[in-house]
Symmetry: C2
Subunit: 385 residues, 2 copies
């Protein structure tokens, strides 16, 4: 069950308090930001997830409750307790998340009143929850897939928010995944960690890792399948289904990057191993110069090669091939003659693909980002005002 209401945290109005709730206990996995600075809600949520498994998540947007000291931690605990009381469950069964401005105390009156309202309207309403967690996002992000586990249909659904301060090196932005699968706890955590590494951790909007990043995957077993473990014959299908949900949300976050006009995917193929491929892809997707060139529809492939050059991965530029869309622009250490207009046209669509072939092995990795626009600067020059 889910709900989202407007409780007055966001100055701009609109839904800003969301609640996810499972009517039965859950096994829960989570990953958190590795930023040294952590929002107070992450401390509370980590405790809850480690103690057993949250079956409810309460989230506000408009205020990150980060860099708020003792008062902030006490507010996060109060938010957890208020939700538990309203839901008539244990305090430790509630996870808490906050996203928005950093360094401002939470208006607890709003949260308290909003929580009562939210519990009253809980239902099959993922859409209002997905809306309530947004900040500078321009659209809600939802995806669900169904997969067969031991003959039972199991559903995995997810929603996420994220538009700026997006460069999740280890944790991620806010993402909430739920499944009715019956899953062993260790298996669930491994599934989420692995999917996060390949999806949320491959997104960058601006290179800034948020102190509020977290992804949670709650499994309540309502599907009635036999227990999913790492050894289960259907584990690969289940893990792929979770990764599909996470990848879909990751791409939606990149597409909805602050000020972005297009989704950019960088595919590195033929690398010697996946970590190298991922480092190269992330370096290219994170380059301000590459992002500005995509915005300008200028097939300036030299910047792609340069960004690979400072990725921290050794390679031989003479073995690299670069493609903008289908157009080969660089090979054998030298420019490949091509129609400039065709290469530029490959940057003009809503989804831009830049492909790098390394000629070293069989590993590949993708990373997702967006173009850099004036609107990004405008949004972030006046975020708090």
């Amino acid at each position: 069950m889910a709900a989202g209401v407007a409780c007055g945290v966001r100055n701009s109005g609109g839904r800003d308090l969301g609640l996810l709730f499972s009517d039965r206990p859950c096994v829960t996995a989570a990953v958190f930001t590795r930023n040294v600075v952590k929002g107070a809600p992450l401390i509370v949520t980590k405790e809850a997830v480690e103690a057993g498994g949250a079956r409810a998540v309460v989230v506000n947007s408009g205020n990150a409750n980060a860099a708020t000291g003792k008062q902030g931690l006490s507010d996060a605990r109060a938010m957890q307790a208020l939700a538990a009381e309203a839901l008539k469950i244990e305090t430790g069964e509630v996870a808490v998340a906050s996203t928005g401005v950093i360094g401002v105390y939470l208006p607890m009156d709003c949260i308290s009143e909003g929580l009562e309202e939210t519990v009253g309207v809980l239902g099959p309403d993922g859409a209002s929850f997905a809306e309530a967690i947004l900040t500078t996002d321009t659209r809600a992000k939802e995806i669900a897939v169904r997969v067969d586990v031991g003959g039972r249909a199991v559903t995995i659904g997810g929603t996420a928010k994220g538009s700026g301060m997006i460069h999740p090196h280890m944790g991620t932005m806010l993402a909430f995944l739920t499944t009715d699968a019956n899953v062993e706890r260790e298996c669930l955590q491994k599934t989420l960690s692995s999917a996060t590494e390949r999806t949320f951790n491959r997104v960058t909007v601006d290179g800034d890792t948020s102190p509020s990043d977290m992804a949670i995957l709650m499994a309540n077993g309502a599907a009635g399948n036999d227990l999913m473990t790492l050894d289960h014959p259907d584990y690969p299908a289940f893990a792929e289904a979770v990764e599909t949900v996470a990848r879909g949300l990751a791409k939606e976050i990149a597409r909805d990057g602050e000020g972005a006009t297009r989704l950019v995917e960088v595919v590195v193929e033929g690398a010697k191993d996946e970590p190298s491929a991922a480092m190269l892809a992330k370096s290219v997707i994170g380059s301000s110069l590459v992002k500005a060139a995509v915005f300008g529809e200028d097939a300036n492939w030299g910047r792609v090669l340069v960004a690979m050059g400072y990725a921290g991965v050794p390679f031989d530029p003479d073995e690299v091939e670069l493609f903008f869309g289908p157009v080969k622009v660089f090979s054998g250490g030298e420019p490949v003659p091509h129609e400039e207009a065709e290469a530029n046209a490959a940057l003009a669509s809503g989804e831009v693909v830049i492909t790098v072939r390394m000629g070293e092995g069989d590993a590949s990795a993708s990373a997702w980002g967006c173009d850099l626009t004036c609107e990004y600067v405008e949004i972030n020059g006046s975020y708090r005002t």
Copy 2:
């Protein structure tokens, strides 16, 4: 002696070929980019510096001669040989540098004709050289200091270019320093490397490390001082003088960052060691969100703390104090009540100082950058067109 002429490499016209020349042999030190992708001129110049010491430098702007394969290397060697011939010195005494668009072959006809003209007008004309090396820079960058060495006045002068693709992790943008001091070779290299680490390597405009970065320091001994070595009693004064020139150029590069409206200095004090302080300062100066907030004159200090949090340096946020100009905004893990207007005003001047006190020790470091503006996006969305 120096000169700069217009030879037709830059589409936009203007001076684009520069020559520095010492009438006597030089001891020369250099540092180069650590980008895996290196421009052809760096290979040629590294050979020259290692073989003995360049006494001439020929530089073109408008074309980086990078990612140009065998043809590019052959062009760089030809440029070196043409300059040596015109100056009637050994080929190995000429350093070569190129800056501009990546992935386009050098127009060697222009270079060849331009070199003859340049040699013809060589003289005490550093200004025309400083102008000839610029690309998207809006102004020339020159600085000189004089220092006493063993009773003799020694002069150190320098010029640099750099405005975009500025994030010199190990090498630097193009910088040319000259001195009439008589200096031991090892001492000269150590002096340049150390100054580079504290100055050029502390600048970031956009986080992109160029494949063309280099800094050269040529010493021809014309001042007639007794040989400068690391043990010389005046070495600290000499090293400080070189660092002053390098710091001056580094700050000018930051101030002239593509699209920038203001110079930003981040000072980290009270750190446990200088490398930690430098990592923290560079992380803050490199944050797109901090840079956009400075542009918008929005004292969003949370972003400063967040950028420190992903610098890769462990620290306790509760021990940190943050200042925007003179205004303390964060201390003891909590926001410090302050006049918002005063903090915003601290971001409105041409030189913005953000100070971080760590409370860990006595080490400090500064880093320099600029704000992120729409103009940066516009410049880099259409650089080649």
